[in-house]
């Protein structure tokens, strides 16, 4: 137990926690900035949407270790290489959910919005995005949790992060060091899951929450 605490008090531990959180925030943020405009762009055309979803499904199938390892020959060892790979890991779930979310807004709602004289942009920002928000945020949450998990593997391409301690623990056969890494990553994953779940609740429009509740009691 003392040995475990000693690892947490090492100065490089704080650095690696920060690196891990940087991976989480940057990869997820870049993932959002790439996926959501793309989804807005394709969602009107059924064939482009299907293509985007299929690409997303393919992207989601690629093992994250494979993505990381294949970045290494291109960008070399280090943080940037890992960040690029983790961004690729973050994109598919957000992209899929954003396309599905924007497309599932019912045509009747869109028609009535058009009938009220709203412009295309107003319909998108005032109606489609708020209605799709819970689904989009669910995608962001999936991505964020996945980035936390995959960032543990950044250690294999010299990207640092909390995976360093797991590997060090294996190499020195030290339970304390390995668990210091493993448990802190798991805790970070739970905080991410709960935090993004909170965001999802906050950004669900009030009317939609009421409708969800009615839908549940109605059935």
């Amino acid at each position: 137990m003392d040995e475990f605490k000693a690892v947490l008090q090492r100065p490089d531990f704080t650095d690696n926690v920060i690196i891990h959180i940087e991976y989480l925030l940057l990869a997820t943020l870049i993932g959002i900035l790439v996926s959501i405009p793309l989804a807005v762009l394709v969602h009107r055309s059924p064939s482009a949407s299907t293509a985007a979803i299929n690409v997303g499904n393919i992207g989601r199938a690629v093992p994250s270790l494979a993505v990381l390892v294949l970045m290494f020959p291109v960008f070399g060892l280090g943080f940037d290489s890992a960040l690029f790979a983790l961004t690729l890991v973050a994109i598919p779930p957000i992209l899929i959910n954003a396309v599905v979310g924007l497309r599932q807004v019912s045509p009747q709602i869109l028609d009535s919005a058009k009938g009220m004289g709203l412009s295309g942009r107003q319909i998108l920002s005032g109606i489609q995005v708020p209605i799709a928000a819970p689904i989009i945020f669910a995608g962001i949450r999936t991505s964020a949790v996945q980035v936390v998990a995959s960032a543990t593997l950044a250690t294999f391409i010299g990207g640092g992060g909390l995976g360093d301690y797991i590997v060090e623990g294996y190499q020195r056969n030290s339970t304390a060091i390995a668990l210091a890494g493993a448990i802190s990553v798991a805790v970070l994953a739970f905080i991410t899951e709960v935090g993004f779940w909170g965001l999802e609740r906050t950004f669900t429009p009030k009317g939609l929450k009421i409708a969800q509740r009615r839908g549940r009691t109605g059935k």
Binding site: V34, S35, L38, P46, S49, T50, I53, N54, V55, G56, N57, I58, G59, R60, A61, V62, P63, S64, L65, A66, V67, V69, L70, M71, F72, P73, V74, A85, L88, V89, I91, P92, L95, V100, V145, V148, A149, T152, L153, F156, I157, G163, I166, G169, Y170, T175, A178, L179, G181, A182, I183, V185, A186, A189, F190, E193
Partner: protein
């Protein structure tokens, strides 16, 4: 923008870069094709089959656990929230942490067993959820009609509800198998074998041929498994293929 579309060109790019940058004096390129040829049957093929074995045995065990639990939670609703909470807890633990906890805390020996245990734990959430969603999607009228025809509860379950729920259950298997392949690659670090072994050996020996082979083959395996289950889903729900669209 999916990563797979980018990775092959990137791999080719890297290959060309090193091939041309180092000029003629270099005999072996970035990818050592001779090595691949020599070790194909001894190293690469067994690793590939070990990966398939790990994932499918884990999926099979997970199905055996999840289907009864899913049926029970569809019947007794009180079971469902705690069950999703527990399996959701497992699902959130990053795989490298899970392996480490299984080895250092639970005390598993290095090898395939802790990897299979982890893979089973990861599949439960998706599988149970899809069994319940699938059973819920069976219209009450259909069940009423079956009951009116004199079928017992058990007959309704096996002849009406499960067959109708099957496409949704298979959709869950599809998500599960793709996740499993991704995680099983990391399992090589704790001695589970498979394509991940090529990746980790390649990294420690600083031999790109090995890890690129491992990465490319594990990607292909995941895509093939994904396609296999998409196909199964389509075959099982011919009536839905037109209306359901992409998802």
């Amino acid at each position: 923008m999916g990563s797979v579309l980018l990775t092959p060109p990137i791999a080719i790019l890297a290959f060309l870069q090193t091939e041309f940058a180092t000029g003629e004096q270099k005999e072996v390129g970035f990818i050592d094709w001779a090595w691949i040829q020599e070790n194909f049957t001894e190293d690469i093929v067994p690793a590939f089959f070990q990966s398939i074995y790990l994932c499918f045995i884990s999926l099979a065990i997970a199905i055996i656990i999840s289907v009864p639990l899913g049926i029970l939670s569809a019947r007794y609703r009180a079971l469902y929230p705690p069950l999703t909470a527990i399996t959701g807890f497992f699902y959130t633990i990053p795989s490298f942490s899970m392996f480490t906890i299984l080895l250092f805390v639970i005390g598993f020996e290095i090898g395939a067993t802790p990897a299979i245990v982890a893979l089973v734990l990861y599949s439960l959430l998706v599988l149970i959820r899809n069994v319940v969603t699938g059973l819920d999607s069976v219209p009450p009228e259909t069940k009423d009609a079956a009951r009116g025809m004199g079928l017992t509860d058990r007959q309704i379950l096996f002849r009406v509800e499960l067959p109708l729920a099957l496409p949704v259950i298979v959709a869950g298997m599809r998500i599960a198998i793709v996740t499993l392949i991704g995680i099983s690659v990391i399992g090589a670090y704790i001695g589970a074998g498979g394509l991940g072994t090529l990746i980790f050996d390649g990294i420690t020996r600083d031999f790109p041929t090995l890890y690129v082979t491992g990465a490319v083959l594990s990607t292909l395996l995941a895509l093939a498994a994904d396609l296999l289950f998409v196909g199964a889903e389509r075959i099982l729900s011919p009536w839905a293929s037109r209306s359901r669209g992409a998802t």
